[in-house]
């Protein structure tokens, strides 16, 4: 059951198209993430949901009610909570007044307001700081104030625009989980914007990958990682080796295709549903570094087994990272164990056909 429905949304700033006719549904209680490189239209989409921007075309339905085509609903009337990228905590008000600002605009008794504020302050771990001015708080604390302010009115929808991007790395990692459990506990439908793929993986029920105003793929973190829709998604989320080639054989009734690459006449790959495959099509045989297997000595010969030369070798503590050249291609390899070979020496790579997909 869709709680937020984005229909054919189109927004441009003069000549720049920020959001290009996107369609999207957010389920009740779901935590959805808009993920993509900087400038791809995430913030604009979020601001359209909030009502801070008026799109040129399309409509947004919240809880079945049209926000645009049925008469533009002002942000103040949408009943949403929003956490801004720079927090936007009002510096001239104390923490407490920041938080109850929206409550005071509703017809609620003073007593109720105080109770509600106290609850939220405790929820975000700010109890005792209500009499401080934001200037006297750390970045992380200001961030919590912003969160408390967004949550205090029990909004139907929570919007978060890169809420963690101004925090240092350690705190950022911790806050991901805090925000997730908080929002999940309250059961608020939320849209979360980030350009950090790890953050998106942790926090989301579903991820929407965007690129230059378009939605490229929607799916659970697992689905997006395991079956990226195209080269862009595969490259943006995690790391992927791309070996360009051309489809030379497609055995019928199987999910197998054979690709001719620069160093191999017939490399076996798995098709995924998304890629439409025709004989002769230009594709990338793609495999993630952690799916490549490395052997010091040649195992019994077989498909997708190649001899390469180590160009770089780096020990990163929990794993070993290798750059291996096969022909003119550079393959990145991540293995959890040591190998005796040094840079400039040979080794064998097995590009597991089950993990080797074709992408455009």
């Amino acid at each position: 059951m869709a709680f937020i429905e984005i229909q054919n949304l189109f927004k441009r700033y003069r000549k720049v198209v920020a959001v290009n006719h996107i369609r999207l549904e957010v389920k009740q209680g779901e935590m959805l993430t808009l993920l993509g490189p900087s400038g791809c239209g995430k913030t604009t989409t979020l601001r359209c949901i909030a009502g801070l921007e008026r799109p040129e075309e399309g409509d947004i339905l919240i809880d079945g009610k049209s926000m645009i085509l049925g008469g533009f609903v002002q942000p103040s009337k949408r009943g949403i909570g929003m956490v801004f990228q720079n927090y936007a905590v009002w510096p001239h008000m104390k923490v407490y007044n920041n938080i109850i600002y929206g409550l005071k605009l509703q017809k609620i008794s003073k007593q109720k307001i105080r109770e509600r504020a106290q609850q939220v302050l405790e929820l975000v771990g700010l109890a005792g700081l209500e009499d401080r001015y934001p200037g006297q708080l750390s970045g992380g604390q200001q961030q919590r104030v912003a969160l408390a302010r967004a949550l205090v009115r029990n909004p139907k929808v929570l919007l978060l625009d890169e809420p963690l991007s101004n925090l240092d790395a350690k705190l950022r990692e911790k806050m991901r989980f805090e925000i997730k459990s908080l929002v999940k506990r309250m059961g608020i439908t939320s849209v979360y914007v980030t350009h950090d793929q790890a953050e998106a993986m942790v926090i989301s029920d579903r991820i929407v990958v965007m690129n230059s105003g378009n939605i490229v793929q929607i799916g659970t973190p697992l689905a997006i990682y395991e079956a990226p829709a195209n080269r862009f998604v595969a490259d943006f989320i995690g790391t992927m080796n791309f070996i360009s080639g051309e489809i030379v054989d497609m055995p019928r009734d199987s999910d197998t295709v054979y690709v001719r690459t620069e160093f191999c006449e017939k490399m076996r790959c798995r098709t995924n549903v998304i890629a439409d495959t025709t004989l002769g099509a230009k594709v990338n045989a793609s495999i993630r570094p952690e799916d490549v297997e490395a052997f010091t000595e040649a195992p019994h010969a077989g498909e997708n087994l190649f001899k390469g030369v180590i160009a770089h070798k780096a020990y990163l503590g929990n794993f070993l990272y290798l750059f291996v050249t096969i022909g003119n291609s550079m393959i990145r390899v991540q293995i959890p164990h040591h190998i005796p070979q040094e840079e400039g020496e040979e080794l064998y790579l097995f590009l597991n056909p089950e993990k080797c997909m074709i992408l455009r």
Binding site: T43, A50, G51, L52, Q74, P75, S76, K77, R78, I80, G81, M82, F84, Q85, N86, Y87, A88, V89, W90, P91, H92, Y101, G102, L105, Q106, P134, G135, R149, R153, N166
Partner: protein, 558 residues
Amino acid sequence: MSRGNLFLTSSLWLIIAFLVIYPLSILVLESFKIAGSTGWGIHNFLEFFQDTYYLKTFGNTLVLSSLVLLATTLFGIPLSYILARYRQRGKTFFTALILLPIVLPAYAGVFAFVIFLGKFGTLNLLLMDAGLIQKPINWIYGLHGLVFIQSLHLLPFIVLSLSAGFTTIDPSFEEAAEVEGASGFRRFITVTLPLCTPTYLAGAVIVFLWPFTDWLTPLILGQIDFLPSVAYINIAYHFTDMHRKYMGIVAVVISSLVCIMLFLLARWWVERKKYTGLSKGTTSEGRVIEPGATIKFLSYLYMLFLAALVLLIPIVLGLAAFSRRWVFEPFPTYWTLDNFRVILMETPLLLQNSFVFSGLALIFGIAFGLPAAYLIVRTRIRGKDALDFVITLMLAFPGMAVGVSYLLAFWKGIPLATHWIIMPLALFARRLPYFLRMAHSSYLQLDISLEEASEVSGAGKFRTFLNISLPLLIKGVLVGVVMFFIMAFQEISTAIFLYRGGWETLPIGIFLNWHRGMEFGIAAAMAFLMIVITFILLLIIARIGGGILKAAWGPGVR
């Protein structure tokens, strides 16, 4: 701490001591002297505050200040909001017009409105001709006129500071309020306006202090019961009457104290409350709104009204300058260049003096200002903050205080006031902050690593300054130079106490022509000439690329 820097600071401090601290201390000392005796004491101050008349002038001045601040704020809020937030055609044009009074001398406006709004001025005559009124209306002679004329002159300061607030506060502060459910007016009152208070205060203090320094406007409007006017009259006309002279000096000291204290208070408060530091930068251009048709029309009307008032100043003065015998007629009928002939043929001295004095002051200013800016921004030499402080304080000092103190200090012991060099020296001391602040802020924007790279390459400090810093600073410095010149060229409050026969400048010529009742036309023509010269200088600034607004206001609102 290098020896060169030490030498530099000592020299600058010597100059400051000689031209600022020494004369101002003499002024203060003098105010404690008891007339007719050799004694000292707070006798003069007690007398001042026990005398109902002087007490009244003090009260009047406070009332005037409050009214002017109120008027400029009430008119300034909508205007700055329009200028800062609405997407409208011709905004730059209106902005330039409405901000014009900043660079026009205040007395130009007074003369223009005396001609236009006087008893038998253009407006009254037009209204009577149309039969709308029987007797002339008193538009300007009184407190209301004073408030009107001073407010128009000071409106730009409020508008600049408020619109700086409206444009620089992070838009997400207001958006957050919007999302939280606060719409329109409420958001403006609870979030926008409070966030603008620090920048507003920077302008408000300038406005509030003005009536404590402006002696001429009340004088021309026949309203003399204000602190600076009384001080001027007591000192300039009654120098031999010891009692009145001392009351005048006390009035000057009290004005200066009020100015300095409020100035420092405002600075301290602004420092403490700066909100801009909290915003983490934003991608959008600030909140620019496309207004609806009605709002758009109304805001045009509003801008047009204020712009027309400002435009009246050069227009009326121009009409007066190119005509003769403009009395009892709404518009002049006899056109002539006579006024200019008189100025250029018979008294070219005035123009010459103005250029020579301002030019010399400017040379002093550069010779002092550049090293001072360097010391303040680039070194950690002891006493540099104090130097900065003293120079900035000159911004708040009434011109009259400088004039009177020079008169007292450089008469007997150091008889500098008998030589014309006192004129450029006084102008230099008075207008110094204008140049320094400009050089200062350009310096702050200059990345220190550019200079360090030069030093690492083997260039000495002085060579680095000449080859690297100066070329990069030159734009800001030139804008500062021209602005300094404009301000020195228009200066009257200090010069009026120091000039002697043969040292008259153009502003003094204007004053004398009005004062002796000789030729109003010539005064107007001189004021018009002044405006033209100012305009040419402003165009130069625009060419340099400083932007008129920036030049007028100085670097950033502080």
